[in-house]
C-alpha cells in the first residue's frame, strides 16, 4: 500500500530505532492476543501488505472490509437490541415496553430452558425452571401475551430459539401475527435457529440427533425465505457468541460460524435452490470479548472472509448478498460476581469494539449478569451504555475509523489467515452435523475450557476481583428473582388452551406431522397448522423424539 522506495527508507530508520532500544527491559508478560497471536512492540507501514483497493477499499464495496453499507452509522445507527425475557410472557412484555420507552430499537426474546428444549411445564423434572432463565413460550397464547401492545409490524423481533424448537415457536409467532391482521410477508425479525448453540454452546436436553437438527434448521430457511412465506425474516443467525462464551477464541469463533454456514448453504443447494434465493437473509451474531483490537480485527476479517466465500466458493451474483451483517453481544463470561459495578466498565469497552467494528445491532450486558437475570435498573444501565457510545462519544462521525492503523490492518490479515486454516481443519472432519456427532467439536470445546482454566489459575489471563485484587462476592446488589408463581401460571395457560382446542382435529394434524417427519419433508407447513390449532411446543417436540430418537451428545471431559 506504500511506495517501494519509501518503504526501504522506513526499513532503514526502523533498524536504527531497534538498535537504539536494544536491551531495554520489558514487563514480564506474554504479549499475545487472546487467540495467542504474537504481537510486536510496534507496527509500521512495513507490516501492511497488499493493495488498498483490493483488500480494504470503500464501505459497501467489495471486499466489504470497511463495512457492509456505504454510509454506515452516518446513515443509520446500529439497532439497540437487548436480549430479554424472564418469569412469564406478561412480565417480559412489561420489561420490553419499559426498554422501548427508554430508546430500545429492537426486541430479542430470551426463552427459558423448557422452551429451548421443547418441554412443557407439566413435566415435573423441568418445572422448577419455568421462567428462570428466560421467558416461557409454550403455546400460541404465550405469543399473544408477549407482544401485547407492541407494534410488531414496525419493530423487529428476534426469537432466540434453536433448530429443535424453531418450527413450533416461530409458527406460533407467525400465526399470532396473522390472527392480529398482519401480513407475515412484511414481518421483520430474526430466528436464531443455530445448531451449534444448543449442542456445544449449551448441551441439549432430550433433543434429536444433529443430522435432523441441521435438516429442520434448513426447512425453516427454505419455507420463510426461499419459498417467500416470510421473505423479510432472518431465518438463521449463526451465533458464534454462544460457543465463544464457552472459551474458544476469536479465530475458532469465526471458524465454527463459517463452517456451520457452509453446511446449511450446501443443504439448501442440494434441495435445488440457487444461492441468491436465500443467502442474503442469513445473519450472524458474534461476541465482543476482552481483547479490544483483536475483536475489531475479527469483525473486519469476517466481512472479508464472507465476501470471498460467497463470491469464490458459491458464485453469488447479487452484490446485496455479499455483505456480512452481524449482531454483537458483549461477553457475559468476562463479567464477575465479585465487584459487579466493574462490569459496567467492561461492557462499555466491549460495546465500543462492536461499534468501531461496524456491527448492525448490539446487545450490551447488564452488570448483574454473573449473579442473576438482569434487574430493571441493570438493564437500563446496559441500554444507556450503548446510548453513551451512540450519542456522546462521536465515534459515529466517520466510517471504520481504525482502518489504516498499521496494527489493525496487520491484525485483520492475521486473523483472516488463521480462520481460513481453522476452517480447513473443520471441513476435514465433515459437515457440521458430523463434526458434532463424531465428538470433534466437543473435544475442541473441552480443550478450550481447560486452557482458560489453566491460564486463569496461572494468572496469564487476569480478571479483576477473581485472580487479581481478589475480593469476596458482593452481597449488596439487589438480586432480581423471577416470580415463584410462574409454574402455576404457565400450567394454567396450557390447561386453558387444551380445554378450548379441538383435540380430535389436532390429533389428525399431529399424525400428519409424524408422517412428514418419517418422510423427512419440510416440517413448517404442518407445524403452522398444528400450532394454529393449539399444539404446544412440547407436543410437537415429542413427535420429533418419537420419530427421530433422542441424542446423547458425546461430551468430553
Amino acid at each position: 500500500m506504500f511506495d517501494k522506495d519509501y518503504l526501504e527508507k522506513i526499513k532503514l530508520e526502523k533498524e536504527k530505532w531497534e538498535e537504539k532500544i536494544k536491551g531495554s527491559k520489558e514487563r514480564d508478560a506474554k504479549f499475545v492476543t487472546d487467540s495467542e497471536i504474537p504481537i510486536k512492540k510496534l507496527y509500521t507501514p512495513l507490516d501492511v501488505k497488499g493493495d488498498y483497493l483490493d483488500k480494504v477499499n470503500f464501505p459497501g464495496q467489495e471486499p466489504y472490509t470497511r463495512g457492509v453499507y456505504p454510509t454506515m452509522y452516518r446513515g443509520k445507527l446500529w439497532t439497540m437490541r437487548l436480549f430479554s425475557g424472564h418469569g412469564t410472557p406478561e412480565e417480559t412484555n412489561l420489561r420490553w415496553k419499559y426498554l422501548y420507552e427508554n430508546g430500545e430499537t429492537g426486541f430479542s426474546a430470551a426463552v427459558d430452558a423448557l422452551t429451548f428444549n421443547g418441554i412443557d411445564p407439566t413435566n415435573s423434572d423441568a418445572a422448577p425452571e419455568v421462567g428462570t432463565s428466560g421467558v416461557p413460550l409454550y403455546c400460541i397464547d404465550s405469543l399473544f401475551a408477549l407482544t401485547e401492545d407492541i407494534p410488531i409490524d414496525k419493530i423487529s423481533v428476534a426469537l432466540v430459539v434453536e433448530p429443535f424448537t424453531t418450527a413450533p415457536v416461530c409458527a406460533m409467532y407467525f400465526n399470532m401475527a396473522k390472527m392480529r391482521g398482519y401480513d407475515i410477508k412484511n414481518l421483520m425479525g430474526t430466528t436464531q435457529n443455530d445448531i451449534l448453540t444448543m449442542t456445544v454452546g449449551y448441551i441439549p436436553y432430550k433433543n434429536s440427533p444433529p443430522n435432523h437438527l441441521l435438516r429442520i434448521a434448513c426447512d425453516f430457511i427454505e419455507w420463510t425465505v426461499a419459498q417467500k412465506n416470510v421473505p423479510k425474516w432472518h431465518p438463521i443467525n449463526f451465533t458464534g457468541y454462544n460457543y465463544r462464551e464457552g472459551g474458544i477464541d476469536a479465530v475458532q469463533e469465526l471458524g465454527f460460524v463459517f463452517a456451520s454456514a457452509c453446511s446449511h448453504i450446501d443443504n439448501l443447494l442440494e434441495r435445488g435452490w440457487k444461492i441468491d434465493d436465500f443467502v442474503g437473509r442469513l445473519a450472524f451474531h458474534l461476541a465482543a470479548h476482552k481483547d479490544f483490537f483483536e475483536e475489531i480485527a475479527k469483525y473486519r476479517a469476517a466481512r472479508r472472509i464472507w465476501y470471498k466465500l460467497m463470491k469464490d466458493k458459491y458464485g453469488v451474483k447479487d452484490p446485496k448478498n455479499l455483505g456480512f451483517r452481524f449482531h454483537v453481544q458483549t461477553a457475559g463470561s468476562s463479567l464477575t460476581a465479585q465487584l459487579p459495578l466493574i462490569n459496567i466498565v467492561r461492557t462499555a469497552i466491549q460495546g465500543l469494539e462492536a461499534n468501531i467494528g461496524g456491527c448492525q445491532s448490539l446487545h450490551t450486558n447488564s452488570y448483574d449478569e454473573a449473579i442473576c437475570l438482569p434487574s430493571e435498573e441493570a438493564a437500563l444501565v446496559a441500554l444507556r451504555t450503548q446510548q453513551v457510545i451512540a450519542d456522546e462519544t462521536r465515534i459515529t462521525n466517520t466510517i471504520d475509523p481504525l482502518a489504516g492503523s498499521y496494527y489493525v490492518e496487520w491484525l485483520t490479515d492475521e486473523v483472516e489467515e488463521r480462520v481460513w486454516k481453522y476452517m480447513d481443519k473443520i471441513q476435514k472432519v465433515g459437515s457440521i452435523d458430523k463434526a458434532l456427532s463424531s465428538g470433534w467439536l466437543y473435544k475442541e470445546m473441552r480443550d478450550a475450557f481447560h486452557k482458560r482454566r489453566v491460564r486463569s489459575e496461572k494468572g496469564e489471563e487476569i480478571t479483576l476481583g477473581v485472580n487479581k485484587y481478589q475480593v469476596p462476592y458482593d452481597t449488596v446488589t439487589d438480586v432480581f428473582r423471577t416470580s415463584q408463581k410462574a409454574i402455576d401460571i404457565e400450567v394454567a395457560r396450557i390447561n386453558k388452551l387444551k380445554a378450548r382446542r379441538d383435540n380430535a382435529k389436532l390429533e389428525k394434524i399431529l399424525d400428519k406431522l409424524r408422517s412428514v417427519c418419517e418422510k423427512e419433508e419440510n416440517v413448517m407447513p404442518i407445524i403452522m397448522e398444528a400450532t394454529k390449532e393449539g399444539a404446544t411446543v412440547g407436543e410437537i417436540c415429542d413427535i420429533y423424539r418419537e420419530i427421530w430418537g433422542i441424542w446423547e451428545p458425546p461430551l468430553a471431559i
Binding site: 430452558a113 423448557l114 429451548f116 428444549n117 418441554i119 423434572d125 423441568a126 422448577p128 425452571e129 428462570t132 432463565s133 444448543m198 449449551y202 448441551i203 441439549p204 436436553y205 432430550k206 464457552g246 472459551g247 464477575t336 460476581a337 465479585q338 454473573a370 449473579i371 442473576c372 437475570l373 473441552r446 475450557f449 481447560h450 482458560r452 482454566r453 486463569s456 489459575e457 480478571t463 476481583g465 477473581v466 485472580n467 469476596p472 462476592y473 458482593d474 452481597t475 446488589t477 438480586v479 428473582r481 423471577t482 461430551l555 471431559i557
Partner: protein, 132 residues
C-alpha cells in the same frame, strides 16, 4: 496398600444446558487424582440412585438456571430419606447469588462455588471436609 480414591459424582439437576462449569470442575477433580463419575442431566431420583450405587464421597450439583433452591432441596430430601445424607459431602456450583449461600448451607450443602471460583480451592475443600 494404596489409599482408596475419593469418589465424586458430578450431576446437572434439571434441564438447563450451561455445561462449562461442570466440565471444568470435573476435569480438575480428575486431575487431582479423584475418581470422577459424570452424571450429566439427572433428576433427583437418578442422582440419589447413582450416588448410592457408585458409593460416592462427594456429590457436585452444577446449577445455572436460578432454580438452585428447588433442585437442591429435592436431592437433599431424598438423600435423607435413603439414609445416606450423612455420608456424602454436597457441593453446589453455578450462577448462585452470594445472598443464597447461607440458606443453601442451612439446607445441608457443605460449600457453594459461584462464578470465578478457583478449582484448586474446590479440590482442597473436598480433601479436608470428607464426611466419612
Amino acid at each position: 496398600m494404596s489409599e482408596k480414591k475419593i469418589r465424586v459424582l458430578m450431576s446437572k439437576p434439571g434441564i438447563d444446558g450451561h455445561w462449562r462449569g461442570g466440565i471444568v470442575v470435573s476435569r480438575a477433580i480428575r486431575d487431582a487424582g479423584m475418581e470422577l463419575i459424570f452424571g450429566g442431566f439427572q433428576n433427583a431420583k437418578q442422582i440419589v440412585e447413582s450416588a448410592i450405587q457408585e458409593d460416592v464421597d462427594v456429590l457436585g450439583l452444577s446449577i445455572h438456571s436460578g432454580a438452585h433452591f428447588a433442585y437442591t432441596k429435592q436431592v437433599i430430601d431424598l438423600l435423607k430419606e435413603k439414609g445416606v445424607f450423612n455420608d456424602i459431602l454436597i457441593l453446589v456450583g453455578g450462577v448462585i447469588p452470594a445472598q443464597d449461600f447461607t440458606k443453601l448451607k442451612e439446607m445441608g450443602v457443605a460449600n457453594i462455588y459461584g462464578p470465578g471460583s478457583m478449582t484448586n480451592d474446590i479440590v482442597e475443600f473436598i480433601k479436608t471436609h470428607l464426611k466419612k
